[in-house]
Symmetry: C2
Subunit: 344 residues, 2 copies
DNA sequence: CTGTTAGCGCATTCAC
DNA sequence: GTGAATGCGCTAACAG
């Protein structure tokens, strides 16, 4: 390996096909064909080209390639609210797995639940010519994803259906899961059952509340409005909310938490007071079997959510499906941890 | 084939600057300047251009832009072993945050701990002209990241230092954290202390074992080789290993688990047998305060790991740092959950 | 089987 | 202040 300054300075710029061609004593086209495994290249030249590629450490520039070849970038965009949240990161895993299998790379951005940031991310991804987009929407309306701004880039929504926009969506059976949970609590004998929701009402949150109410209605129980509370964003605030709920004149004997944050707050309350409170929560918690208190959980597979979304997206990218928006619903299952009362 | 505006509007192909220019009655250069906020553009033309952009829903093609403009792709690559693992996804969050702040997009790929896949991913990312690379390495040797194959694309390793390669690295204080844990167990009075490691010995695993041994050596205690065991990949296998360990003639009274998987296996053993066993584990577990048994954990911030890695990388990308490889060590802190014996 | 020409969408350079 | 050439790295389409 020569290491003289001139060579080092020159190699700061990656080599081009022309460099390889010159090195191998052929035309750039022969290099191009060789690298694309066209069978029509002579064995001898082919070897010379590959040797030159090896020696220069050449890597074909995929962007220049796509520019000429019709714009295929091999890119899929994923816009997610928060990668640090295990549910979303597992969803990302599912998307990535399907993308990788199709030979596509994932371009990821996080919106931090901010619609403005989401809009900016989507614009950036479109500028980078992604071939499709999986979006876990931040707000309740996705109108900004419609219109010509996407220029035909297909979009699939995850965790929430399209609102103000005709697009495919993959959602959890939020209604059904919550309904099953509240029915279960009734069958166990509970009559004062609280609902622990989120202050920032998402589509998901609304569905879970609807399911909760419907489940009890089927059992002939009307929900006491005082038992329907929402918890602000912070963990500490959730604890305060729970404390207030349980200090009421007629506290609930059971609580259904609409998401994993609420479930943990309820568990902390039980932990710190030692009181009895039956808890069912939406979202799986991997370590629940180790908890000091019994808990039941409405679980689902976030990775499957991601996989299904990516699959729908790939069908759109390939164009082998008609325009009608589709919806996929991922099932939930109720699991029990610790000793749980058996319904009579 | 030339594109006249009418055809462009009807076609699925996104509009180009030429289309916008024609629509606004100016030259493509004026569009280019306007979109780059050059002040030298007349207000009137500027407005006309922006109107045309709006009307056509035009998005500048970032790849063509980079191709002409010196190759700046605005891309950072992240190769991670498994996005579904909360530690790595939080690490990804840290990288993404720093990248986003610098106006860069993240291209993510998962290696599934497979060196061959890692090599392929890196090659693909280099072909896509990422400006830098954060890699959570799969194997113990990263020789394949060296050589001219990267062509000057800077790399920063996370969770493990560079081996067979001169690159920056950000690591956890694995040695120090494990050392503190084993000393703590000794001070609490334990003399038969087990080490629960991983079968697939990573650099991280070795450091934690070294720290464990060193901590006890400082206390004058030699480690009984029978108490040093490794757990295979699966959760079920880990449980088997633990059961065997605890069924030995002289079982340990305390165990140090080298990672979160081992910690949970130990907790499950306590849960299912009801026996006493003092547990300290490496890696934080968010729900540990809710566990039925006391646990101490050696924690650190994966997000900070990611942030620091991205920061080092950006300095390299900007070239404002010399060649010498740097190493950043992220501190650990020991936390206690549930009732834990106080050292005499 | 191989090389030449032209152009993907944009920005640098230099005229006007 | 604006526009016309020219080329970034690569590859269809067409020669040879």
């Amino acid at each position: 390996m020569t290491r003289d300054p001139a060579t080092a300075a020159a190699s700061r710029q990656p080599p081009t096909m022309r460099d390889v061609a010159a090195h191998a004593g052929v035309s750039p086209m022969t290099v191009s064909r060789t690298l694309r495994d066209e069978p029509s290249v002579d064995r001898v030249l082919r070897e010379r080209v590959l040797a030159a590629v090896e020696e220069l450490g050449y890597r074909r520039n995929d962007w220049a390639r796509g520019l000429r070849g019709g714009g295929a970038t091999g890119l899929l965009g994923l816009v997610i609210t928060n990668l640090g949240n295990p549910f979303y990161s597992q969803l990302a895993t599912g998307v990535e797995a399907v993308a990788a299998e199709a030979g596509l790379q994932l371009l990821v951005g996080t919106s931090a639940d901010d619609v403005a940031r989401e809009r900016g991310l989507v614009a950036g991804l479109v500028s980078r010519r992604v071939e499709g987009l999986v979006v876990v929407p931040a707000g309740t309306d996705q109108g900004h994803l419609a219109g010509s701004s996407l220029h035909g880039v297909p979009v699939v929504l995850a965790t929430s259906p399209a609102s103000g926009l005709a697009a495919d969506a993959v959602v959890v059976d939020d209604f059904g899961g919550a309904r099953e949970a509240s029915r279960r609590l009734f069958l166990e004998g509970h009559r004062r059952i609280a609902f622990l929701g989120l202050s920032h009402e998402t589509w998901t949150g609304q569905e879970r509340r609807r399911g909760f109410t419907a489940g009890l209605a089927e059992c002939g129980l009307e929900v006491d409005p005082e038992l329907v509370v929402t918890t602000p964003a912070g963990d500490h605030d959730a604890d305060t909310t729970l404390w207030r709920l349980m200090s009421a004149p007629r506290p609930p004997t059971a609580v259904f938490a609409a998401n994993h944050r609420g479930t943990l707050a309820a568990c902390r309350w039980v932990r710190s007071t030692g009181e009895r409170l039956r808890i069912i929560g939406f979202d799986d918690i991997a370590t629940a079997p180790l908890f000091a208190m019994p808990v039941s959980l409405v679980g689902y597979s976030p990775a499957e959510l991601g996989r299904r979304a990516a699959e729908l997206l790939l069908e759109r990218v390939r164009g082998d499906v008609d325009d009608e928006p589709r919806r996929v619903v991922v099932a939930t299952q109720l699991s029990h941890h610790g000793h749980v009362d058996v319904p009579a």
